[in-house]
Amino acid sequence: MAQFVFEADLHGLLKLDTPIPNAPPARWQRKAKESGAPGPSPAAGLSPMKPANRSHSSSKTPSRTPGKSGSKIQSTPTKAGGDRYIPNRSTMQMEMANFLLTKENDSAEESPTKKEQQKAWAVNLNGFDIEEAKILRLSGKPQNAPEGYQNNLKVLYSQKITPGSSRKNGRYIPSMPDRILDAPEIRNDYYLNLIDWSSQNFLAVALDNSVYLWNHTSGEIIQLLQMEHPDEYACSVSWITGGNYLAIGTSNAEVQLWDVQQQKRLRNMTSHSSRVGSLSWNSYILSSGARTGHIHHHDVRVAEHHVATLAGHTQEVCGLKWSPDGRYLASGGNDNLVNIWPCTQGDSGDFAPVQTFTQHQGAVKAVAWCPWQSNVLATGGGTSDRHIRIWNVCSGTCLSAVDAHSQVCSILWSTNYKELISGHGFAQNQLVIWKYPTMAKVTELRGHTARVLNLTMSPDGVTVASAAADETLRLWRCFEMDPIKKKEKEKANSAKSSIIHQGIR
């Protein structure tokens, strides 16, 4: 009989038409109870969440309560209702936030003072009110270079081997240097003239703050001098014609004169205000060129040595050479000018150049007079120019111009073969021999691993010494005279003198 009781209970629970005996009181019943007690209602109003929570949770437990009034009302939260994530929404200004997020980005909101400030900044940076400027461009197709034109500069800087001369030259020129000398600490400064070869066969080399002499015949090395201060350095060296005195230009604007046989300093001539990068002798007159662009003439025999000033350059004078007949002085500067000065002053008492050549587009350090043709000068330009130019200084015309494709640091003429030799820098650091006057390339001498800085020639005209930034001096035997031809030359010279003697008789 017990199972029937169980069954009756089950049926009773499942049936929905009878009231539930143990259900919690319905909301409306509770509310009726509460309204009977008005005191606690404001408290209830302040925190509406709590009872709502309670009712919410309490209404959840019986899963099948009809709860038409109860749970349905409780499941919809009030406007300011909370949830687990944001417990108290009353502190948030939802309406304000929504408005700010959705409004259009309005720049007119900027205050006028801020605008003024921005304008002032713009004027400051651009120099004028850029808002007010209009940018115009000439219409029409831009002018283009003809098809197939390749930018010249690129070709220049990427070349590997320059096309050599096709015609085989008559004589054999050894491609390797005769001798390589070590030149440690040599200053890699394009504007200095650090080597010179004397008529007594001594090669003077300035290595930073010392000057060394190398005897070509014996191979002996003598240290002539060392500067007093480690910061000073020798900028230029030049032998007097006789080969017994050496002039040295220093970084502290002095020109020193040394007697090499006694290894003593004879004179210390100060007249410049900046380093003396170039020197040239004309019998007893020593000319010096400085960084300021001034050239001074010094008479080394008298106490008041500074006899003249030539102001023709605005930047460092790096090339300076007297002509073999002593009539003209050629100077080249970092201002791309070449000036030709006369040996005597003009009417006004000042020295003025008889010629000024402006065609070079780079610094002119390479300056050399032709030994067999008077009034012919060769000049070479630096990186921006790369040209070798031959001039007639009387007429002022440029006889020829050749593109050497590389910075020209020095030029020498060779009497033996009527040729020119030039020293170069990037990219091949080579010496080029040119035939004069055709300016055809005879050969190129390679070997230096850094740019060539200076060239000088031996007294017999056979060997050329080159000093380069790779701290070596290379001696090239490039103008070797054929012994047969040499004898013929000597005979011709002696024959001439005998004729003269007969004539006098």
Binding site: F128, A133, L136, P142, N336
Partner: protein, 206 residues
């Protein structure tokens, strides 16, 4: 002889100053085109100016183009309404701006009303112009190589209310994205002052 002396002593008028500056631009632009290799160097010829040997183009189309610009510049300089001249060098293939030569012009507007010419010798102005042109030549040593074929454009910044003449159109500034700038010398005629600078694209590799 006497006439020459008086011309030297004569001061600079507004019209004279405009001519000097326009002439400088003509030679300056020619120098830039030659030095940067925009056109083949064979098409340039040498002339003597400012005590220097300058290279100017012989190509008739280019000459015409430059003359138009220079004439217009002269007029605008006289009216003091031009503020800047820019030479833009860009690669032909991808139109990328590689170099930008900017010449700022400051004009003394008071000179318009004055009738008396200003005191400054022609020689001093010539010397200043000479330094600027030499600097343009010297920039070849540090400006990066222009690997590709390039074309140039001329931009002129004028006053906003200027009526655009025919043959001219409006354009953007054509700045360089990642640029390195170098200021060059400036020169002044006491009425116009020209500041020069060049901006070039920084090399991409470290």
């Amino acid at each position: 002889m006497a006439k020459q002396l008086s011309r030297d002593q004569q001061g600079i008028t507004l019209r004279g100053s405009a001519e000097i500056v326009a002439e400088f631009f003509s030679y300056g632009i020619n120098s830039i085109l030659y030095q940067r290799g925009i056109y083949p160097p064979e098409t340039f010829t040498r002339v003597q100016k400012y005590g220097l040997t300058l290279l100017v183009t012989t190509d008739p189309d280019l000459k015409n183009y430059l003359n138009n610009v220079v004439e217009q510049m002269k007029e605008w300089l006289y009216k003091c309404i031009v503020q800047r001249l820019v030479v833009v060098i860009s690669s032909i293939e991808n139109n990328e701006v590689l170099e930008r030569w900017q010449f700022d012009i400051e004009c003394d507007k008071a000179a318009k009303d004055e009738s008396a010419p200003r005191e400054k010798s022609q020689k001093a102005i010539q010397d200043e112009i000479r330094s600027v042109i030499r600097q343009i030549t010297a920039t070849v040593t540090f400006l990066p190589l222009l690997e590709t074929a390039c074309a140039f454009d001329l931009l002129i910044y004028t006053d906003k209310d200027l009526a655009v003449p025919e043959k001219w159109e409006e354009s953007g500034p054509q700045f360089i994205a990642n640029s390195e700038e170098v200021r060059l010398r400036s020169f002044t005629t006491t009425i116009h002052k020209v500041n020069s600078m060049v901006a070039y694209k920084k090399d991409s590799f470290p």
